[in-house]
């Protein structure tokens, strides 16, 4: 059922992406060709045919959707390569960055959150709370810029502004990717900390904890065996909800650290007004986002037996 409900959403998303390109003020072809035509109209005519601009708008959409469903996202206007190939070439960067960011956000956020809850109302808890509120307010592109600044001014050996594909040299690749990944995780980390903290605190107040205490169970066992499992449910939910922020942050992180990911492909396409790449990247990112949300829902349902789809 949950899977079926995604179909109309994805269909609607494809209509929105398609219509965004048609929102361009003026003629798309003129904008795409720009000054390069020098009065030559053949290129424009060819492009008009390729984009099926001579047909009614619903036919244009259906043709585009048909091609998309067959894995054809069109041809990039500037690089003359299929859009899908360009995207697949850059996708590993995004996947790797997201994984590093998630590992850091979850791996650090959950223990810090638990610690903060256990040390509730002490100075340690206060420090953690102040830091997480501050960290949440730091724009990640600013943090990235500052790290690049520190790297170029003071710590020359700081591995930033370089990239080596994972397949060529895995160790060097991870060395270059770790700082951007950590910076990216900083948008998610404070949210995970806050959510874990409040969730653990809420669970600690519940009746079953009191019962366990009354049974004479030791505090540690109650925390690790009972409270944590129940506390993870809202944390996982919030991570799913915040994936959009993480994906949005990818564009900025890639831009500052000059990493060849989809985000930069999109920004370059925006600068060159390459609409095929813009729609293609947007579509791939949206489908990925929707699938991640689905995955989170599945994990959520698995952990919380009260939820069924």
């Amino acid at each position: 059922m949950r899977l079926l409900s995604l179909l109309p959403i994805l269909l609607g998303a494809s209509i929105l992406i398609f219509s965004i390109v048609h929102m361009v003020p003026g003629d798309v072809v003129d904008i795409m060709i720009g000054d390069q035509s020098h009065g030559d109209t053949t290129a424009a005519t060819k492009l008009r045919e390729d984009l099926h601009l001579d047909k009614p708008i619903y036919q244009q959409y259906l043709l585009w959707l048909w091609n998309v469903l067959h894995g054809d996202l069109g041809m990039s206007f500037t690089t003359r390569h299929p859009v899908l190939n360009e995207i697949l070439k850059r996708l590993p960067v995004n996947i790797e960055l997201t994984i590093i960011a998630l590992i850091f956000a979850v791996g650090l956020g959950i223990p810090i959150g638990i610690y903060s809850a256990v040390e509730h109302l002490t100075w340690k808890d206060s420090i953690i709370r102040v830091f997480s509120v501050m960290a949440y307010a730091i724009p990640n592109f600013w943090l990235a810029t500052l790290i690049v600044l520190v790297g170029s001014l003071y710590i020359k050996s700081l591995p930033v502004l370089s990239y080596v594909p994972f397949s060529e040299n895995p160790l060097l690749n991870i060395k270059f990717m770790i700082i951007p990944g950590v910076v990216l995780s900083c948008t998610l980390l404070p949210i995970v900390v806050r959510m874990t903290r409040s969730s653990v605190l809420e669970n600690l107040r519940l009746d079953y904890v009191r019962t366990a205490r009354a049974k004479g169970l030791n505090g540690r066992i109650i925390l690790y065996r009972h409270v944590l499992k129940n506390s993870f449910i809202p944390v996982i939910n919030v991570i799913g909800l915040q994936m959009g922020i993480l994906i949005g942050g990818l564009v900025l992180t890639e831009e500052v650290f000059v990493l060849p990911g989809i985000g930069r492909l999109m920004l370059e396409a925006i600068q060159k007004r390459d609409f095929m790449i813009i729609t293609g990247t947007m579509l791939v990112i949206t489908v990925a986002f929707v699938l991640i949300t689905l995955l989170v829902d599945i994990v959520h349902a698995y952990l919380d037996p009260r939820i069924r789809y």
């Binding site: 994805l10 999109m266 925006i270 986002f289």
Partner: protein, 288 residues
């Protein structure tokens, strides 16, 4: 009964204000927000120099003449930062204002009347939420062309979806409440029920959400203008100043520090204020 009298004489707003006053982080947030609004409104008078005036004193470090130094065209950074506040606030308040109006309207229609209309509106919102919102804003602004107006329209359009969803949820639960039912049974018309009974009760969640959205709107505006998709040069904006600083970072690192600090302070202020308002306006959290 008599003991409860003073408690009763306090209105919901008075209780909220009392809760808010006792929360020092909320007060700090409120003060930061007030300061920023003060700077934004009075920016032409507060700026010590013309933010667009170029001088030969390029990339100067902070000094008494230029408290935050100068940029690559010799423009006073402090004046640019102050005028950037106006841009940032105009975009965030413009966008959130537009979103609140549209969102309340959509949410009321959707939640109060229900039926087919509700279904159509909700499915459209689902589509918007299928996108990472920042990327949607990025692409729409890029396609429409970067300008202050387009930034406001785009962020407003996306946030309208958030407000519509919140308002609809509140309206759905309020619609079934006894006081609405009794008003209806006394012959009140839909318009009067909506404005006299439902509307005042959805204000709290809307105000709290609006405060949080103001902070994310500031962040989105800064990020988009960082990418060159905000206000166009020479007009100053925080994100753009940060972006410009990247080319001169090694010579004048302070150029990168101040605009980022401004964004951080603004976001922090609105977040703290939002947290405080949420706690203060929540009727379940009445502090005696």
């Amino acid at each position: 009964m008599e003991e409860k009298k003073p408690e009763r004489s306090l209105s919901h707003l008075q209780i909220a204000w009392r809760n808010f006053r006792r929360n020092w982080t909320a007060l700090v947030g409120g003060i930061i927000v007030l300061l920023i609004l003060f700077v934004a409104v009075l920016s032409p008078a507060l700026a010590p120099q013309d933010p667009l005036k170029m001088t030969p004193k390029r990339l100067q470090p902070p000094s008494t003449a230029h408290l935050l130094g100068t940029d690559q065209f010799g423009r006073d950074q402090l004046s640019r930062l102050i005028c950037g506040t106006k841009v940032s606030m105009a975009v965030s308040f413009g966008a959130v204002g537009m979103a609140v109006l549209c969102g309340i309207l959509l949410g009321l229609i959707s939640g109060y009347y229900g039926g087919k209309m509700d279904n159509v509106i909700m499915r459209c919102l689902d589509v918007i939420f299928a996108f990472p919102l920042f990327l949607l804003a990025l692409v729409i602004v890029a396609v429409l062309g970067p300008s202050l107006k387009n930034l406001i329209l785009t962020i407003g359009f996306i946030y309208a979806a958030t407000f519509a969803r919140i308002v609809r949820g509140s309206v759905l639960s309020l619609r079934e409440k006894e006081f609405v039912e009794s008003a209806r049974s006394m012959g009140a018309r839909d318009g009067s029920i909506i404005f006299r009974f439902i509307f005042p009760n959805i204000l709290s969640p809307v105000i709290v959400q609006a405060t949080f959205n103001l902070s994310t709107a500031i962040m989105i505006e800064a990020a988009l203008s960082f990418l060159g998709l905000g206000t166009q040069p020479p007009d100053p904006a925080w994100g753009m100043m940060l972006n410009e600083s990247r080319s001169f970072m090694e010579i004048s690192p302070w150029m990168a520090i101040f605009p980022g600090t401004a964004v951080m302070l603004a976001v922090l202020g609105f977040n703290l204020l939002g947290d405080g308002l949420r706690d203060a306006l929540d009727p379940r959290l009445i502090v005696k």
